[in-house]
């Protein structure tokens, strides 16, 4: 209840901020500096193409240095004598989206798009179309029933913006919803190869398989004979086609199909205020709204502009956002589909003035907490008790999470080299016995061949753990279960990544 009240308050404050932005507006104009709402949703007035072809490719090599699991997974349901099953791997130790190897090459993104104003002498209407052909959670389809995973081409953006009402542009179609900086920022402009764990875990939505799937624990700790709930697998099993990804739907890619009202205003000498309000299906890049409910999004930002334009415009930006929605899920066998809230909110600051960059953001999540690709339904439905052992029945569908990150970059003067460092942390299933925390340091460097092409090298130092490793629950031997998970997470090692990004 308290969290619902807090979320409601934050939503109201965000909308109030948006209203203030409108009230204080100077000119609703062509503010374009480092403003992702405007960069992605509009075209430069009087200077757009009829159809500008553009895109980018990200090819990478990654290596995960995690060790195999010493034990099988054993959730709160009892495994009285945990069986040591060395040689099994769990999703956090594998490279996504395939989750069947710990090292290899990939084309994580290959996008081609076209944008412009179809009738260039009329700036009132512009469009944006983008296709994704790379191999990632958005394009990787997995049918856990027959492990028939394949990569398909997906439309990630298809939108039209109407710029008729001063101060209230309208964008409709499929596009990025207004939200956290990592999600809203164009991916080809990211300074790191992988998202922070807080963005990956709380915001990059994996839509659960709605129907209840049971899990009968096997001695190895996996779910034996279940559909959609997957156990750990050995290397041999993974090579033979076993899949650790049980999700049937593509990842949400921080996008939705809906309609958005937004704009940016120059205020005073060098401030720019932006706002956005959106309503969408709440189904990522899929085009249905079978649950008949809509997600709502609100975003405000205030930026002091220092100069420049486009993706690397310099400024000091403060931003806040919120997202409220619900998802259908059947959490008990035969219980039928019920609606569970999925609310997210956050605020942050970003500073860019050459040669320095600093970003920090705090994110909160309430409901539908993603806990792993190998349990697309089970961990939403599994029971867990609060950390103090009171035996409160709960599940990740009603759990909470929070996290934050801070990162910085230094563009070495008179060189093409940039040094980056980031720390991020996320806590999921707060106050539950299976609360877990992922901490990560990412050290990176980038070499800019030119304004459109760069090489990124990242080294991730990961510390993943269960928050209550010694929790005892009445009636169950969950100490063992949590202990097993702790031992398995202790084996999550560091990761190396090298990525080449070329835009055109």
């Amino acid at each position: 209840m308290q969290n619902k009240k807090q979320n409601k308050t934050l939503f109201k404050r965000t909308m109030l901020g948006a209203a203030c932005a409108l009230a204080l507006a100077g000119s609703a104009g062509s503010a374009m500096a480092a403003n992702w709402l405007m960069l992605q949703g509009t075209e430069p007035e009087g200077a757009s193409s009829r159809a500008e072809v553009w895109g980018f490719i990200q090819a990478d090599y990654q290596a995960d240095y995690s060790g195999a699991n010493p034990y099988g997974f054993a959730p709160a349901i009892q495994v009285p004598n945990p069986v040591s099953v060395p040689g099994n791997y769990a999703a956090p130790k594998m490279l996504g989206p395939n989750l069947n190897s710990q090292a290899g090459f990939n084309v994580s993104r290959a996008r081609i798009g076209v944008r412009g104003t179809g009738f260039p002498i009329d700036d009132h209407i512009n469009y944006f179309l983008l296709l994704e052909m790379g191999n990632n959670g958005t394009t990787r389809n997995s049918n856990s029933a027959n492990n028939n995973a394949f990569t398909s081409v997906k439309a990630t953006d298809a939108s039209i913006t109407l710029n008729y009402i001063k101060g209230a542009r309208v964008r409709a179609g499929l596009f990025k919803y207004p939200g956290a900086e990592e999600s809203l920022q164009a991916i080809q402009a990211h300074d790191y190869i992988n998202f922070t764990e807080v963005t990956n875990g709380l915001l990059l939505e994996r839509f659960p398989n709605q129907a209840f799937t049971t899990c009968t624990l096997s001695a190895s700790g996996g779910c034996a004979g279940a559909t959609g709930n997957l156990g750990q697998y050995t290397t041999a099993q993974l090579q033979a086609g076993a899949s650790l990804n049980g999700f049937k739907n593509p990842a949400g890619a921080f996008r939705d199909v809906g309609i958005q009202v937004f704009d940016a205003f120059n205020v005073g000498k060098d401030w720019e205020l932006s706002y956005a309000g959106m309503i969408g299906n709440g189904n990522g890049i899929e085009f249905d709204n079978s649950d008949k409910s809509y997600d709502k999004y609100a975003y405000v930002s205030a930026e002091k502009k220092y100069g420049g334009s486009g993706a690397r415009a310099e400024g000091l930006k403060y931003f806040a956002w919120t997202q409220r929605g619900s998802r259908l899920l059947e959490i008990t066998s035969g219980g039928g589909l019920k609606s569970y809230d999925r609310n997210r909110s956050g605020f942050g600051v970003k500073y860019l003035k050459m040669p320095y960059r600093i970003t920090a953001e705090y994110i909160k999540a309430d409901g539908m907490i993603f806990v792993g690709t190998d349990k697309p339904n089970f961990y939403f439905t599994g029971t867990s008790a609060s950390a103090d052992g009171n035996g409160i029945t709960a599940n990740s569908a009603t759990a909470r999470g929070r996290g934050w990150y801070v990162e910085g970059g230094w563009y070495i003067p008179n060189s093409r080299v940039e040094l980056d460092a980031r720390f991020d942390t996320v806590d999921r299933n707060e106050d539950y016995a299976n609360e877990f925390r992922f901490n990560k340091w990412t050290l990176g460097t980038q070499y800019h061949f030119n304004a459109k092409t760069r090489l990124t090298v990242n080294y991730e130092i990961r510390d993943y753990k269960m928050v209550h490793p010694n929790t005892t629950l009445s009636g169950t031997n969950t100490t063992t279960a949590i202990g097993n998970a702790t031992a398995n997470l202790n084996g999550v090692g560091n990761k190396l990544g090298v990525q080449l990004t070329a835009s055109f």
Binding site: G46, A47, S49, P120, I121
Partner: protein
């Protein structure tokens, strides 16, 4: 004899005045060199290019020594739309003496297509025709540039 020299002086003065008149009518400047730059492309990158050209020319000469006029017609008229992203830069160049001419024929055609007349940058002057204007200026000795 005195009348003869007075007559010669009068004729010579008249001839000099007639030779100087067309140049003085086109521009009151004493610029050594004058450029007319044409933009008629749809390609938005040409907008930045032509403004860069104008800036570079101004920088290459002492103040007052060069005159630049940018004539926009056809799809290039978009450069002189009031809301164009380059409006501030156009204003700055205008303050530095660059002239901007908007083709009246194109404006009429766009008005017909849009159903309303596009607002033109207040720093620009609408001329009868862009091509006609360029022809006039070239005849007057302007150097013709089309980036």
């Amino acid at each position: 004899m005195h009348n003869y020299f007075r007559s010669i002086f009068f004729v010579l003065t008249t001839l000099v005045a007639m030779a100087a008149a067309p140049a003085m009518a086109a521009s009151d400047s004493m610029a050594d060199i004058k450029y007319v730059m044409q933009i008629s492309d749809m390609d938005p990158s040409k907008q930045e290019l032509i403004l860069n050209n104008a800036s570079n020319v101004l920088e290459a000469f002492p103040p007052g020594a060069v005159e630049v006029e940018i004539v926009a017609y056809g799809p290039g008229l978009r450069l002189l739309f009031a809301q164009n992203v380059n409006a501030k830069r156009i204003n700055s160049l205008s303050q530095s003496g660059v002239k901007f001419s908007a083709c009246g024929v194109t404006l009429k055609g766009m008005t017909k297509q849009l159903g309303y007349e596009p607002k033109i940058n207040p720093d620009a002057k609408v001329v009868r025709g862009g091509v006609v204007r360029i022809g006039e200026l070239v005849k007057q000795g302007y150097v013709y540039i089309r980036p």
